[in-house]
């Protein structure tokens, strides 16, 4: 090592001693304090006693000197009195030297830099976590929305099964629906001898034939632009001219009637073809939705009652229509006059038979 000039050595010694608060101990092989000196009071160690075990007097020495490899440097130790020291332990004659050098300034500097860096890292971690949580929440929200629209579509489809589309649409915003329709035709059709036949063939074949009959009614309603309003037992009620008015409502319903009769003829009920009684009348009605939890779109009025009466009076396979309907059909339809017939609750009514 280069030998420094005496003046430099002396300056260095004074500088380090005062600036870094040099303090020292020597600890013998029995771990007892053998020597001490320097600015021990700076480190809160002024009461250190020679001849006593070091670990009892300086807690941080606990366990440190057993099987130790020297030299050992332990930087920046904050002591219980708050001062920060670099500790240097090195071998001496029959003992270990422990040197304290103040490191408060260096520690504070490093702490300032590290504080900024760690705070930044913690913020970034937190930001990433929040972003992940946001993504998860969004995904959950999206799934809930998907589920909701599936449910919505399902209830929409169910609603359309029991109500005309335009009525279903209005029902979403309106509580009650009651519309006057001045010009519609109403049809009733039921199965001849249904009750007796049902009793003899049993429940299952009966349900099967009803199902076929009503399916045919649904399909033909759609085909001829009519609305199937409801079924009552073995009877089906169909209307033409609503919810959207049409001038040829009588014609549409006449076509429906002729075709449903033919469809019945192709169905077998207990080994014989299904035969229908059909009645039609035209006039004004009131249409609306009643009920709150179970919706039912229905028609009311004298027109409806008379159509039902005409239907009851019909013979098997016969389509009976009122004079009003006959006038609307005009010369395009073939009809036979049946004259004035007494109907219960309606008096004598002019009736026609629709042939083709």
């Amino acid at each position: 090592m280069e030998k420094l000039p005496d003046e430099v050595r002396s300056w260095l010694y004074n500088y380090v001693y005062t600036e870094r608060y040099v303090a020292y101990l020597k600890i013998d092989t029995d771990l007892v304090v053998a020597q001490k000196g320097g600015k021990l009071d700076h480190y809160g160690l002024s009461s250190l006693r020679i001849g006593k075990p070091v670990a009892e007097q300086i807690e941080l020495m606990e366990g440190l000197l057993t099987d130790i490899e020297l030299p050992l440097h332990m930087p920046m130790m904050e002591l219980p009195n708050g001062q920060v020291a670099d500790l240097h332990l090195f071998d001496g004659n029959a003992g270990t030297w422990v040197l304290f050098l103040d490191a408060t300034a260096e520690r504070d500097n490093q702490q300032r830099m590290q504080q900024k860096a760690y705070e930044m890292t913690l913020l970034q971690e937190r930001e990433r976590q929040l972003n992940e949580a946001l993504l998860e929440t969004n995904e959950a929200l999206r799934q809930t929305q998907e589920g909701l629209s599936r449910e919505y579509a399902r209830s929409e489809a169910l609603l359309l099964n029991i109500l005309p589309a335009s009525i279903a649409e209005r029902l979403k915003t309106q509580e009650q629906i009651a519309d006057n329709h001045s010009d519609v035709s109403v049809l009733f059709a039921d199965i001849v001898g249904f009750t007796e036949r049902a009793r003899s063939v049993g429940a299952e074949p009966t349900l099967a034939v009803l199902n076929s009959f009503f399916k045919a009614a649904d399909q033909l309603s759609e085909q001829y632009g009519c609305e199937k309003i409801k079924t009552i037992g073995d009877c089906v009620m169909v209307v033409a001219g609503l919810p959207v008015a049409r001038p040829d409502h009588a014609k549409a319903l006449a076509n429906f009637a002729l075709n449903i009769r033919n469809a019945g003829g192709r169905l077998s009920f207990g080994g014989v073809p299904l035969r229908l009684r059909i009645g039609i009348h035209s006039g004004p009605i009131v249409a609306g939705v009643i009920g709150k939890r179970r919706f039912a779109y229905d028609l009311w009025g004298d027109t409806v009652n008379l159509a039902a009466r005409i239907q009851t009076s019909a013979e098997p396979d016969e389509i009976r229509i009122s004079d009003a309907t006959h006038k609307l059909l005009g010369p395009g339809s073939a009809c036979d006059p049946l004259g004035a017939i007494e109907l219960r609750g309606a008096g004598r009514v002019e009736i026609w038979r629709l042939v083709a």
Partner: protein, 164 residues
């Protein structure tokens, strides 16, 4: 006089200094102040049959495990591993630090503190991850330096382990 050196090990910002302050001085500060180097503190713990002075070495939680200064652990009789329950990555940091002390000084008794249990809505560790540490025979605690929950229990546990 019974005196034992215990080292606090874990990543930065997991709450090592706050846990020591809660245990020794019964206080907590919301302000985060990073530790550089090491802080020495002492606390007496009364066990059923004896009293032990725990010399707590609160080691800086390094950002980079590679720069961890092993010499601080010299002479330690037990470890307190601290994990931040809201930051799952700090679990492997604590476990890696423990492994490195084992390679240098042999296996020391240790307890694992899953800290910041007061931040329930940000908690990010599963029960199975916590149970896994128990399988190694290390008692585990859900602690909060803020509320003090289980802090005394955990330090008393390591105290009884190192005097036993």
């Amino acid at each position: 006089m019974l005196q034992r050196k215990i080292c606090m090990l874990g990543g930065f910002g997991v709450g090592k200094t706050s846990l020591v302050r809660r245990f020794v001085k019964s206080i907590f500060s919301e302000t985060y102040l990073t530790t550089v180097g090491v802080k020495i503190d002492k606390k007496s713990v009364e066990l059923p049959d004896k009293t032990v002075d725990l010399i707590l070495w609160d080691l800086a939680g390094e950002d980079d495990i590679g720069s961890f200064r092993m010499s601080y652990v010299k002479g330690a009789t037990g470890l307190v591993l601290v994990v931040d329950g809201t930051r799952p990555a700090t679990l492997s940091v604590a476990l890696t630090l423990r492994e490195r002390t084992e390679a240098e000084f042999g296996a020391l008794p240790c307890v694992v503190l899953f800290n910041k249990s007061d931040l329930a809505d940000r908690w990010a560790l599963s029960a199975s991850e916590i149970d896994e540490t128990k399988q190694h025979g290390w008692p585990a605690y859900l602690t909060s330096a803020l509320t003090g929950e289980h802090v005394d229990d955990a330090f008393r546990q390591i105290a009884s382990m190192v005097v036993g």
